[in-house]
Symmetry: C2
Subunit: 215 residues, 2 copies
């Protein structure tokens, strides 16, 4: 026998496909841990490696510190937002001829290529346009992470550890902070784009939020 079907492996693949984002091992670990609290980070790494070997997912190696994984395997390229580090797919037309992924270049036998664009995602562009009087706002120079207070970070972290949307009371309980204080923090974080409210009175952490607290 060779490759087995384990519940861990199944959930990892499933959650990566469900997210439709380019998650890092760490981000995926957090998501998967919601469904399987005792799973180990090492297991996530092992399975991502194995799944990418079998071709079920793609290992990205985009720029930045961490490796990312993609559930879409068909040929496409990527854009990285230089501010929030979000990575998205790009399908470019009429590129294949001029930017070949096979052939010979300078004596090298080309087996593949990688194309990555850098820029500002629509969300960050909008964020940067906000008048600078707002003290809780990111400064537009990519240092938003550093501007989070410890309490804001606590709130974000608690929200990240929740699976699905939660109310302010949940966060107050998880962080030990006063409920009124938490409500204020959430409002600030929402303005900064780190938190959104999918349902009225319920809140969830955004991809930006995750980026802001870790990686």
């Amino acid at each position: 026998m060779s490759v087995r079907r384990t519940s861990q492996r199944e959930i990892i693949l499933q959650e990566l496909q469900k997210s439709r984002q380019h998650l890092t091992a760490d981000q995926l670990f957090r998501v998967v841990r919601k469904k399987m609290p005792r799973i180990s980070l090492a297991t996530v790494y092992r399975n991502l490696e194995l799944l990418s070997e079998t071709g079920l997912i793609a290992k990205l190696e985009v720029s930045g510190r961490q490796r990312r994984f993609d559930s879409e395997v068909v040929g496409h390229d990527h854009v990285t937002c230089v501010q929030c580090h979000r990575v998205e797919n790009v399908f470019l037309e009429g590129m294949k001829e001029d930017c070949p992924s096979h052939g010979v270049v300078d004596g090298y036998t080309i087996k593949g290529r990688r194309l990555e664009f850098f820029g500002l995602c629509p969300r960050c562009q909008k964020k940067n346009k906000v008048p600078k009087g707002d003290a809780t706002m990111g400064c537009g120079c990519g240092c938003a992470k550093k501007m989070l207070t410890d309490e804001q970070k606590m709130v974000l972290q608690a929200m990240a550890d929740f699976h699905g949307p939660c109310v302010a009371k949940d966060i107050a309980a998880a962080t030990g902070l006063e409920a009124k204080l938490v409500t204020g923090k959430i409002a600030d974080l929402k303005k900064q784009g780190f938190v959104d409210s999918p349902v009225r009175c319920k809140y969830g952490i955004t991809a930006d939020g995750r980026t802001a607290i870790k990686g």
Copy 2:
């Protein structure tokens, strides 16, 4: 005052430019240490960072574990050899129009792009063609590093620590191995492409060789 001119900084820049390769911080550290034995690895990192901020050199972020630095800053792309991890420059014609480095893609404001090709360098292609009977040969699957014996590694390391070409006797002295044995090792390593002989009877480590012992 802001940025000072220090001898460390000068040598780092000078050696990177002289090498005309895409060195890792570690590789450059070894080269620089020949001229300035007490320099610290942290200083190398610090200055590479600073030099790339001022635009004098380029920080690469090609795929692979280590970051590499390039003394050529003008727009060009890179090829990475999937076997020996050598990185070289590529200047593609007629690419600018179809593979733009500025503009708007899917709502992102593009500030730059990175294009990396993967393939086999001419040297590795040639290496792979050698009949497989040769036991000292790399297996062509990228695992050449693991096939080095401890003694071969010692020889390579000693050669790396030498600045410029050296004779077998130097290596024997540095490693403590018998001179006759060293001669044999050098011959093997030369066949594998880890050592070359710029001058008759003098030997030097190649980029492949450096890769083979570290990163």
